[in-house]
């Protein structure tokens, strides 16, 4: 009798059942069926549905088949996605880091922190689609920005018909939407660092640069890795902003077409479940590989440093 201890573990399991149930129905089943159908010829034609008939790797081969002009759209879209992500994510992390340092600095003691935090987080609360529509209206050929440009130069500049201006706008919207979020994460990370370390560093006569590179940055690494990986996954799924800003096919000439926009194009006419499935699987694999690379390259460095 005495040996028997009361275990509350089963309650833990019972309480997490709802999550796993929902996760199983809404995530695992669709995930597996995506893998499954990616090997099938399965699409709509008018009101008829063709398939599903097993087609092996045909869908994957079709995705890697060059178009008549010789480029592979899948690779183009991957490149577009990465380039627009980097254009947005690099300034996002740099600006967020600077802001986080300013806000957490014990020397500066900025007043009205709450106000600034709210303001920089605000863009994230607006729907991406609304933000994109706002930008579209601002920069369209008949929008206010172009009216100013016309007033100065006498000619309008079509922002959405130039590869680099269109990509910059997409990256800019993503930057604006997410830098506040990253700032808050970094601030939480920095504030979690033991103050005595900073004090010790300043007693030892470390400069601010040294403190940042030798104390703050290494200890912030887990947060940075987390931010990078989530930003990367979010970036690979970039869809709403370029779709609305640059039209469904990624104007001009498909140079702003992201992977998910490509995926969407298989579902906009007569839906092609097989091809969309194959593309989703590829996206899944790309996300997995990139996340692994980021994780490996940053986390091992940190653990080496820690072991010393």
């Amino acid at each position: 009798m005495k040996k028997k201890s009361i275990s509350y573990a089963k309650w833990g399991y019972i309480f997490i059942i709802p999550f796993f149930l929902v996760y199983f129905i809404c995530s695992i089943i669709p995930l597996l069926s995506t893998f499954y159908y990616s090997f099938f010829e399965y699409y709509e034609n008018g009101l008829d549905v063709i398939g599903p008939t097993f087609a092996g790797f045909d869908n994957y081969i079709a995705l890697f088949t060059p178009t008549k002009s010789g480029n592979i759209k899948l690779l183009d879209c991957t490149y577009n996605t990465m380039i627009m992500w980097i254009m947005g994510a690099v300034p996002q992390i740099v600006v967020a880091m600077v802001l986080a340092l300013i806000f957490t600095s014990t020397r500066l003691k900025i007043k009205g922190q709450r106000f600034f935090k709210t303001v920089i987080y605000m863009p994230n609360l607006i729907m991406a689609s609304a933000f994109a529509m706002l930008m579209f209206t601002l920069f369209s050929n008949v929008g206010p920005v172009n009216q100013i440009i016309q007033g100065i130069t006498g000619e309008t500049f079509n922002f959405f018909r130039n590869t680099w201006s269109a990509r910059t706008l997409v990256a800019f919207v993503n930057f604006l939407m997410w830098f506040g979020n990253t700032t808050i994460l970094f601030m939480a990370g920095i504030m979690g660092i033991d103050q005595s370390l900073f004090e010790a560093a300043s007693i030892d006569g470390a400069t601010s640069t040294q403190v940042f590179f030798k104390v703050t940055l290494p200890l912030l690494m887990p947060i940075i890795v987390y931010t990078l990986i989530t930003a990367l996954i979010g970036g690979l799924q970039m869809f709403d902003v370029p779709q609305l800003l640059c039209g469904g096919s990624g104007d001009p000439n498909g140079t702003t077409c992201t992977l998910v926009m490509y995926l969407n194009s298989f579902l906009s006419g007569y839906r092609n479940y097989g091809m969309a499935g194959a593309l989703s699987v590829i996206l899944f694999i790309i996300t997995g590989i990139l996340s692994f690379i980021v994780y490996r390259s940053l986390v091992t460095d940190e653990s080496k440093g820690g072991k010393k």
Binding site: G46, T67, K68, V142, P252, N253
Partner: protein, 494 residues
């Protein structure tokens, strides 16, 4: 120990409150139930027989329909027909009708005259915008679920456009309307019946409009460029594409644009195709006329005769304001009634500064058909609506006179075309019906496929890079083939 008592207390409080809620709910239903039952069964029933539940339905015309479904489900992609339906058929005034003046407007006559829908029938509109094929996706889903849907959830009829009507008319998801009492009237334009018929000639629906497309031009600009704003003179100056280009060059010299979109003339070409988009083996065929369009659009863009905007673009629409610099637009009656809101703007628009003529090439654009869905539970009502908008001369006349539509009733159209006093104020008093009566004679509905919509809508955009000079012609074709593969997997591209 204390904690345990507290939790017990809280738990019992929760159970109690839940129980009391349950009791209350139960009480509510029990008390209201007899009342409701008494209302309908005991008090009203002897007095006014079939009011609510429609028992045997004596007298009055709409009673056959009253025995049918209680919900009329209509699918559409915009509010255009909904407005006509409510005004001329259902007679249901919009909720905010009295906003301007309590006494109502001139339209009240129509609301009062409307046949009305049978009592107890609720009309449910489902509006899904057509962008990117979203409307068709919605309708497809509904039609596929039609067999298993509850009677009141079944689609009764839905609207379809010329570009994809074949997809529905050719399938068994639409109903042969001759079985419910709608046949091709002599007054209907033949192509409207042809478009709505399947391969065996069974008509699946009707159109309430006929859509010959005209060249819509700004009178003030035409006066400057051509020297006259009279439709006959303008037509003489723009009767073929060579002349059209000559005038375009002249307009450019005077600081005007000939058209406001690189896709503006697309329909004038594509409607006159002598081959379909796909051949018998589902191979993509680029019709010769589409190639002509590509060449022309390139020329117009290179020369700056047109603005580099899409057919529905904001920049193009801004050209319809009084300050616009564009002379020509192409479109049928619905286009200047429904899509040229900027021109009709009381402050910034240029109402009355417009006129129409045939232009270089006869064509049509769009048109809305009402297709009956197989399995409708309101066949009588559906048939009555279809007949009302095609053979009811009062309603057709109202569509022309009041809505400036070009109706699908030759008798009514001819009546207005012959009326010397009839004119459209938007077109400076020109009798547009008279022009359309002539244009309608040339409409052909041929060589269409179930793929037309996204092919026609997508082509100009895929070639924009080529028109602008940022892509080669080969690259544009490759991009278009890729686009076709993505949207229509069944089509084989070169």
């Amino acid at each position: 120990m204390k904690k345990r008592i507290l939790t017990a207390l809280l738990a019992s409080a929760m159970i109690l409150s839940a129980a009391s809620c349950g009791e209350k709910a139960a009480e509510d239903t029990t008390t209201t139930a007899p009342a409701a039952g008494g209302d309908a069964a005991a008090t009203d029933a002897p007095a006014a027989g079939g009011d609510a539940a429609a028992t045997d339905a004596p007298a009055a015309g709409g009673d056959a329909a009253a025995e049918e479904g209680k919900v009329l489900n209509i699918h559409a992609w915009n509010e255009e027909f909904k407005g006509f339906f409510e005004k001329y058929y259902a007679g249901t005034k919009p909720v905010n009708a009295g906003a301007d003046g309590e006494e109502g407007t001139a339209d009240d006559v129509y609301y009062d005259k409307a046949p009305g829908i049978p009592e107890g029938v609720e009309v449910v509109w489902t509006i899904t915008p057509s962008d990117g094929g979203a409307y068709q996706t919605k309708v497809d889903e509904m039609l596929k679920a039609q067999e298993t849907a509850a009677a009141d959830d079944k689609v009764d009829f839905f609207l379809a456009e010329a570009d994809y009507i074949l997809k529905y008319a050719g399938s068994d998801k639409t109903l042969d309307v001759s079985t419910i009492g709608v046949t091709q009237a002599d007054t209907m334009y033949n192509y409207t019946a042809q478009a709505a018929s399947d391969a065996n000639g069974k008509m699946k629906g009707v159109s309430f409009q006929c859509c010959p497309s005209a060249l819509i031009y700004r009178r003030s600009i035409a006066k400057e460029v051509i020297g006259s704003d009279d439709p006959a003179d303008v037509q003489a100056a723009l009767s073929d594409w060579t002349k059209f280009e000559e005038v375009a060059a002249k307009a450019k010299d005077l600081g005007y644009y000939m058209t406001a979109s690189y896709a503006e003339t697309y329909r004038t070409f594509s409607n006159n195709a002598t081959e379909a988009w796909v051949d018998a083996d589902n191979n993509l065929v680029i019709p010769g006329v589409v190639k002509e369009y590509i060449a022309q659009a390139k020329k117009f863009m290179d020369n700056g005769w047109t603005l580099p905007d899409g057919i529905w673009g904001d920049e193009k629409n801004a050209q319809m304001f009084a300050g616009g610099k564009t002379m020509c637009f192409f479109g049928p009656a619905w286009y200047y009634n429904f899509s040229m809101g900027n021109a009709q703007d009381p402050d910034a628009g240029c109402f009355g500064d417009w006129a129409i003529c045939q232009g270089p090439q006869a064509h049509f654009w769009g048109g809305t058909w009402l297709l009956a869905a197989t399995g409708t539970d309101n066949p009588t009502l559906v048939a009555d609506i279809m007949n009302a908008f095609t053979i009811n001369e009062d309603i057709c006349s109202a569509l022309v006179q009041n809505e400036k539509q070009f109706s699908n009733n030759t008798t009514v159209n001819q009546k207005f075309a012959d009326d010397p006093n009839y004119g459209n104020a938007f077109l400076g008093g020109q009798n547009d019906t008279a022009i359309f009566v002539e244009l309608a004679k040339n409409i052909k509905f041929e060589n269409s496929t179930i793929y037309d919509q996204l092919l026609n809508e997508g082509l100009p955009g895929q070639f924009l890079g080529y028109f602008e000079g940022t892509a080669t012609e080969e690259e544009a074709y490759a991009a278009f083939y890729q686009y076709v593969n993505e949207n229509y997997p069944a089509i084989v591209t070169p």
